[in-house]
């Protein structure tokens, strides 16, 4: 086999992740997550739950919720559908790993390079989120997660700490556009 010498690039096309500090807001591109989507097979919900309980330290999240455990993050994305996220360095082939775990109880799809992930931290991010999307951002509490529109992009928003710490997943092919939108919104409230 030929030995390719390839340099991995982040979603924004750099070799290291991009961080913007704007006033009290820190926006950091996070290339360190492996992502896999999970869709339960018909009537196998309980079996899937049993297999995943040790990974998640509990149950799969319900509508509009995420489970943020040490080893993995699970986000509800639809009826019987979830996104699972884990550190990329420890799980370079995450989808295959999850497939081995859940066997025939669910279908698993690799999502890692489909998304750009931004970590957003600050003392009060509510005014910024109000400029970005039409969610009731003040009401978002830790463990809430939902898909919504930012500009024209369908994004997943995960709340890690109410008003102070959010993770935003957006389509990787529009990573620069989303980054521009987030930076612009941050400048307008900083």
């Amino acid at each position: 086999m030929s030995d390719h010498i390839l340099t991995p690039l982040t979603a924004l096309g750099k070799t290291t992740s991009t961080t913007d500090i704007i006033g009290g807001i820190t926006l950091c591109e996070n290339p360190n997550f492996a992502i896999a989507s999970l869709a339960v097979r018909q009537g196998r919900g309980q079996d899937l739950q049993t297999l995943l309980t040790p990974v998640l330290d509990g149950e799969l999240p319900g509508p509009g919720r995420a489970v943020l455990s040490e080893s993995a993050t699970a986000i509800w994305t639809g009826n019987g559908q979830w996104f699972l996220m884990a550190p990329l360095s420890e799980h370079p082939d995450y989808a295959a790993e999850i497939k081995d775990l859940v066997k025939d109880t669910a279908s698993v799809t690799e999502q890692t390079d489909g998304w750009v992930i931004f970590d957003l931290t600050g003392d009060d991010l509510v005014p910024m989120l109000e400029r970005l999307c039409n969610l009731n951002s003040k009401a978002l509490a830790a463990g809430h997660a939902t898909r919504c529109l930012i500009e024209h992009l369908g994004c997943l928003i995960i709340c890690r700490e109410s008003g102070r710490n959010f993770t935003i997943l957006g389509p990787r092919s529009s990573a620069s556009s989303l980054h521009h939108t987030l930076v612009t919104a941050a400048h307008s409230v900083a």
Binding site: P63, G64, T77, G78, N79, N134, N136, T146, R147, C148, L149, G154
Partner: protein, 95 residues
């Protein structure tokens, strides 16, 4: 306009796409003797009520779920929102 999603709560109508009359769920049997007439009616004949109307909405920029929304066409008031799968099962479909 706000649509009160049965799973996610109130969401802006901007996230949804209108996909027509809820009677589209009741697709005729393609193998019936009267299939040609049934499909003609199914495709082309619509009630156009001034008042309560059941319609299909797709939560495209959110959950990507199909909903049956009961809306009053004269006041825009939405009286009921349910998952299209629940509505279809109630009408005897298997999913």
């Amino acid at each position: 306009m706000i649509i009160n999603h049965p799973l996610l709560g109130p969401r802006d109508a901007q996230e949804f796409v209108y996909h027509g009359d809820a009677s589209l769920i009741d697709r005729p049997d393609a193998n019936a003797e009267t299939a040609l007439d049934d499909f003609h009616d199914y495709l082309y004949l619509r009630d156009n009520p001034a008042g309560s109307h059941k319609e299909l909405w797709f939560h495209e920029q959110g959950l990507r779920s199909w909903l049956v929304v009961t809306r009053d066409t004269t006041t825009q008031e939405i009286s009921l929102v349910e998952l299209a799968s629940d509505y279809a099962k109630r009408r005897g479909w298997d999913r």
